[in-house]
Amino acid sequence: MKTRRLTTTIVAALLVLPLLSGLARAYELTIPSLDYRTGPYAPNGIPFANGYGDYLNMLNERDGGINGVKINLTACETAYNTKRGVECYENTKGEGESGALVYQPLSTGITYQLIPKSSVDKIPVFSMGYGRTSASNGKIFPWVFNFPATYWSQATVFVQYIAEKEGGMDKLKGKKIALVYHNSAYGKEPIRTLESAAEKFGFEFLALPVDHPGQEQKSTWLQIRKERPDWVLMWGWGVMNQVAIKEAASIRYPMDHFIGVWWSGSENDVLPAGEAAHGYLSGAFHQPGGGFPAHDDIRKYVYDKGMGLGDKDRIGEVLYNRGLVAAMWTSEAIRKAMEIHGTKEVRGEHVRDGFEALDVDEARLTELGLPNFTIPVKITCENHEGPGKVALQQWDAKAKKWSLVSDFYEPLRDITGPLVEEDSAQYAKENSVVPRSCN
């Protein structure tokens, strides 16, 4: 009898609880965070989610939110799985009075799912430096933003860096460049760009796929040992990165000729290989390190109150800063949306306008406590990629530190431009989207 009563109570509690939690609250800015703290991509998902959440929590604690309106950060675990990501999206999109204001899926697969949904549900998708490259064409993808640069821009920057090291664009002729990529939509992104660059500059291009999750790469690196490419590029994520760097070290591939995409260049990726990873390069669009005033504010207002999402000493890791910069641009877009529409109670469609009018220059970065942290970003109606500039960072295994080793390069727009036009036009045709006018 007793157990039955207990069961009834538990069942009743479970039924009533969700109703209670749904009771009316004051207006809040709902920002869902699609985390992945489980699965083979967790080593990279965790620091990003921590940076993203900590910055927004810091705004809540220090300024009482954005312009005094509290942020409601809603975490949902996706495990980097597209189906779970979509479930999270459906579950959180109507949350609170504001509804979800913007999504940062941090997964190319989920981004592809959300791109068509975003225009239906009127919620912008901010796929910061990932996702569908041709979404930079704002005429066809008004709801998607992928600034500050795309994979295709980045691929052309790597080609320029290689050319510079080899002694000029004409020296690329006859060189062999290999791409080790995650065998998914994400990893395949740069292939087309590199193929047209190979045609233009006369280098040989070699594409080597690695299947999910990327723990088994022996055959790939055997092939590299056999083919002896002059440079190796990598589009990897999760455990694939660490394994690749270890494999490269084991065949003694020169690390300073091995360049990862900006998702393959964080502390987690290089530390397992130890000293052997010294000199490994990767793309970057912001500074590493935790010494900026904004980091101090996070320590003071969030961690000292015991509300930090991660470890205090991991503040300032590359992917932590990546999450932080994403949160910074997101909150600035919401601020802009409030300014444009003259209301503090914004909705997804207002935030979209905020993104499109976003203008974070160096002066604003300094105000935000992030001087020289990243490149100035200005978004327009037709250009959702923004500046498109990329720098390279290098790993110092002795000091255990990443540092930027190059200037920010301009991408080769004569290569990426026509490809973006072609790919976005194909999307428009397949999905019967009429390009909007931007005047």
């Binding site: 939690s21 979509v86 579950n91 592809y112 068509p116 569908r132 065998n183 998914s184 999905n431």
Partner: protein, 358 residues
């Protein structure tokens, strides 16, 4: 008291061979059909339909398909993910090449294409059995996914290697992709699943199904009494793949809207559907539904209770969810190794005697 057959007399063979010979069962089925067709769409919002009901129905269809092969004919298959991919890529190629044929015929054609591919991969079953056959079908899984990832023709040479379902209409309403109408998607899927379940149930209790079960129970004995293994086994592969192919087509075109082969159709799909029929009950159409419900609903239910109800941290909830689902699977299999469908049968037998058991 309420569930008793006393007084229900059959006066013709037809009545005796009805799908549900007991009157109460018929009422229950009619009530269930009434609820699914008339009440569910009114009651549920888009989140429920899209995140819970659609995957449940589509996985049920895949589980019915696999149950025909594994549950009725006794051929273990680990190629379900690959066969679902065949269905998905067939419907994608057909949708982009012959959109004028209409969506439902295209789904059925994809089923037939998958049936052909399934029969081809079923050929080794004539020589090998049990675990060895499982390995042969595993090869189908890896080969098919590799093929769809490697050959550009299958994904229309898309730069990212993904397939996206173009908008297709049924009776003038869009049913595919993200712009599809949620209620229309539900009606489409539930109709196809209901018709398929009815067809599967009838095939399984007819001559063909009896041949399959004879092969399952002892193939040499079956051969001796005149069942031809070649036809029985290959027909099981064909019918099974037909349903799995339709499930794959709906999975991609109606539910996901876009897919990449390595993630959407990986080996985990094959395991998931196999677990569904093991937990639901081998050799039972009802079991396919119960197993799909258990493995689709349970994780989402647990997540919603923990994260939205109790306010647990999302990552912790994800870990607890993995543990709980695992424990529940083991628990259920210890309590009832024949699956949820068997529990239902026991409940029915008890109900017949209630309230005066011997």
């Amino acid at each position: 008291m309420i569930y008793r057959e006393t007084g229900q007399f059959k006066s013709s063979y037809q009545a005796d061979q009805a799908l549900f010979p007991i009157a109460q069962d018929r009422y229950v089925i009619f009530a269930v059909l009434f609820v699914t067709f008339a009440i569910v769409p009114m009651l549920l919002n888009a989140y429920w339909l899209n995140a819970i009901v659609l995957p449940f129905l589509i996985y049920s269809l895949a589980a019915i398909g696999l149950n025909i092969l594994t549950g009725y004919c006794g051929q273990v298959s680990l190629g379900t993910g690959g066969f679902m991919a065949v269905g998905a890529y067939s419907v994608y190629k057909l949708m982009t090449a012959f959109p004028e044929l209409g969506f439902i015929p295209l789904v059925v054609i994809s089923g037939f294409i998958t049936a052909a591919v399934g029969t081809l991969f079923g050929l080794p079953s004539l020589r090998i059995k049990g675990f060895y056959l499982a390995v042969a079908t595993l090869a189908a899984q890896f080969f098919l996914v590799w093929l769809f990832n490697k050959v550009g023709w299958f994904y229309n040479y898309n730069a990212s290697g993904m397939i996206n379902s173009p908008p297709m209409t049924v009776f003038g309403v869009i049913v595919t992709g993200p712009r599809g109408d949620m209620t229309a998607k539900y009606y489409l899927v539930v109709t196809l699943v209901a018709v398929s379940a009815l067809a599967a149930k009838n095939i399984a209790r007819g001559r063909i199904g009896r041949n399959w079960m004879a092969i399952r129970d002892m193939d040499i004995a079956a051969e001796l009494i005149g069942v031809r293994p070649l036809i029985a086994k290959l027909s099981a592969f064909a019918v099974s793949s037909f349903f799995i192919g339709m499930a794959g087509a709906l999975y991609f075109a109606v539910w996901l809207g876009s897919a990449e082969p390595t993630e959407a159709f990986d080996i985990n799909q094959s395991f998931l559907v196999l677990f569904m029929i093991i937990i639901g009950g081998l050799g039972s159409i009802l079991g396919s539904f119960l197993g799909a419900a258990f493995l689709v609903l349970m994780p989402i239910l647990l997540k919603n209770i923990m994260v939205d109800g109790l306010g647990t941290n999302a990552a912790l909830a994800a870990h607890i969810e993995i543990i709980t689902v695992g424990v529940l699977i083991i628990g259920f299999l210890i309590v009832e190794p024949h699956g949820l469908a068997r529990l239902w049968r026991i409940a029915k037998e008890k109900l017949r005697l209630w309230p005066f058991p011997h």
